[in-house]
């Protein structure tokens, strides 16, 4: 990597503010970096070199005139190819939408542009966000391994230094899973915190936009720019977002943090060890860590199949006119999962919503006792591309799709804010810790992430560029 792409977003913003680098410098460095990495990791579905350079020149002109918009001014970012960016393809990773070009920006992209950010390109998504490995994208830490999904292009690209941050989406773990596998911070805020207009739905009762970047501060800076009411999204939360970045160094001293021990029931030993060390760091930082259990346990155990029922049924409703008419244009795995939704009965769908009620109550009860919860993000490292089953040192093997969201999907049921923060490496591959907060507690989960990353020694660790 050249020096500029090794920086985090906040550091790059500092260079721009001090006029020690220009927005054109940043964009050119990122594009050159993409030239080096993309043949190996294929994180971008569409590049926007020309429009990014034009936007960078405009951003520099504003800076020269003394009109800096804020910390995102002149910062190149990527946008998951599920989100509209005016004038760029929006194909959702699918031949079903081949050739579709967005007519206008999604609300969150509007907010990014207003803040001065520059769209570098569209990050690859698993087709229609319905899968956990995002082919043909690969993991920059080991290109024989998956980057996770469905925002696999966002995670792989940010880890490799293609975009200082990526706007992406999470219905059952799709921001946090690739963040974990690629060594990034990935935040799924409270449902409704970021407007979703201009985004292809997957399971609309859980879909949430989120952010992947290299540090908690970088994520906070993007969140602060895009969170807030969206007049085109009825589910958006009407109250303004109180900025998170100014409070990030407030730490965790005095907080009670609950460890959900049962999430370690199946685990690879070296992954678990790294996560338990990180939980110890929270205690070192002054938090009181206590074991908690989410009750009723039956609802927690039923969440994984219920999440698939809800997501598939809602997706099938949205895709209704295409599932047969455009059958051959879907990937086999994605068509199978979405078509499955047509076989979920109304009774089963409503029972899944009853389970959602119980899960919401379980989290509410836990948060009467603690301020935050922690679990593993995954209890395994990123699987090899040809590895369908995840094998644990303790616990039964599991297919990589449910294994990828096994620890992450519960929070989508009540719409809670949660993130994955990298805590170290196992066998040379990143390991993430999952931090969960009550509704609208984005700042608190980011503070905890900052406390971990300040002590874990991972911040600044980068994958090795391919030869």
């Amino acid at each position: 990597m050249s020096g500029l792409v090794e920086l985090g977003l906040a550091e790059a913003a500092g260079l721009l503010e001090r006029r020690e680098a220009s927005a054109v410098d940043l964009v050119e460095a990122q594009l050159a970096n993409a030239d080096r990495w993309e043949p190996a990791i294929r994180s971008l579905a569409h590049r926007a070199d020309d429009s990014a350079l034009a936007a960078a020149r405009a951003a520099d002109a504003e800076l020269a005139a003394g009109a800096r918009r804020g910390p995102l001014h002149g910062i190149p970012v990527t946008i998951k190819d599920l989100v509209d960016v005016a004038g760029l393809p929006m194909e959702a990773g699918s031949r079903v939408l081949a050739g579709n070009v967005a007519a206008r920006d999604a609300h969150a992209v509007e907010r990014l542009r207003e803040a001065g950010a520059i769209v570098l390109g569209k990050a690859r998504t698993h087709e229609f966000a319905f899968g956990g490995f995002t082919p043909p994208a690969r993991n920059p830490w080991d290109v024989e391994r998956i980057p996770g999904g469905s925002s696999g292009g966002s995670g792989a690209g940010v880890a490799a230094g293609i975009g200082y941050a990526s706007l992406c989406s999470d219905t059952a773990g799709s921001v946090r899973s690739p963040a974990s596998f690629n060594g990034c911070v990935g935040l799924k805020p409270t449902y409704g915190r970021i407007g979703r207009s201009g985004v292809v739905p997957m399971g609309w009762t859980a879909d949430t936009l989120g952010v992947i970047a290299r540090s908690a501060l970088d994520v906070a800076l993007v969140l602060d720019a895009i969170a807030g009411p969206d007049p085109r999204d009825e589910t958006s939360i009407p109250t303004p977002h109180a900025p998170s970045a100014p409070s990030l160094e407030d730490g965790v001293a005095g907080l009670r943090i609950g460890l959900v021990e049962s999430f370690f029931a199946a685990a690879q030993a070296d992954v678990e060890a790294a996560q338990r060390r990180a939980i110890g760091l929270l205690a070192d930082a002054g938090a009181t860590v206590v074991e908690v259990e989410l009750e009723p346990r039956a609802a927690i155990d039923a969440t994984l199949p219920a999440v698939f029922q809800l997501g598939a049924a809602e997706a099938a409703a949205w895709h209704a006119d295409w599932l047969d008419a455009r059958r051959d244009l879907y990937g086999e795995d994605v068509h199978r999962y979405i078509d499955m939704g047509r076989h979920v009965s109304a009774v089963e769908y409503l029972d899944a919503q009853r389970i959602r009620r119980l899960v919401s109550q379980a989290f509410a009860a836990a948060f009467r006792e603690v301020d935050l919860l922690v679990t593993p993000s995954h209890t395994h490292v990123a699987p090899r591309v040809d590895e369908q089953m995840v094998v644990y040192d303790r616990g039964e093997p599991m297919h990589r799709d449910p294994a990828g969201i096994r620890c992450l999907c519960h929070v989508n049921m009540p719409g809670l804010p949660a993130l994955s923060v990298p805590v170290g490496l196992a066998r040379g591959l990143p390991v993430g810790l999952h931090v969960i907060g009550p509704p609208l507690a984005e700042t608190l989960v980011l503070r905890a992430a900052r406390a971990v990353e300040a002590r874990a020694g991972f911040l600044g660790t980068r994958p090795t560029e391919p030869a």
Binding site: I237, D301, G331, D339, M340, L350, R356, G415
Partner: protein, 53 residues
């Protein structure tokens, strides 16, 4: 889609849906959720207050 040959040929959609339903039924037998109000419209703040009440 290119490079999709790494996708396994698993059960079909109807069988998958039946498997999911069975997994849920094994935990919550039919009728056991009767008294639970479905959380159909997700408003995290409102549903949170209700859950805490």
């Amino acid at each position: 889609m290119s490079e999709r040959d790494d996708v396994d040929q698993g059960p079909g959609p109807a069988e998958l849906a039946a498997q999911l339903a069975e997994q849920v039924r094994a935990i919550f037998p039919p009728g056991s959720l009767r008294e639970v109000e479905p959380l159909v419209t997700l408003d995290p703040v409102r549903s949170w207050r209700e859950a805490q009440a």
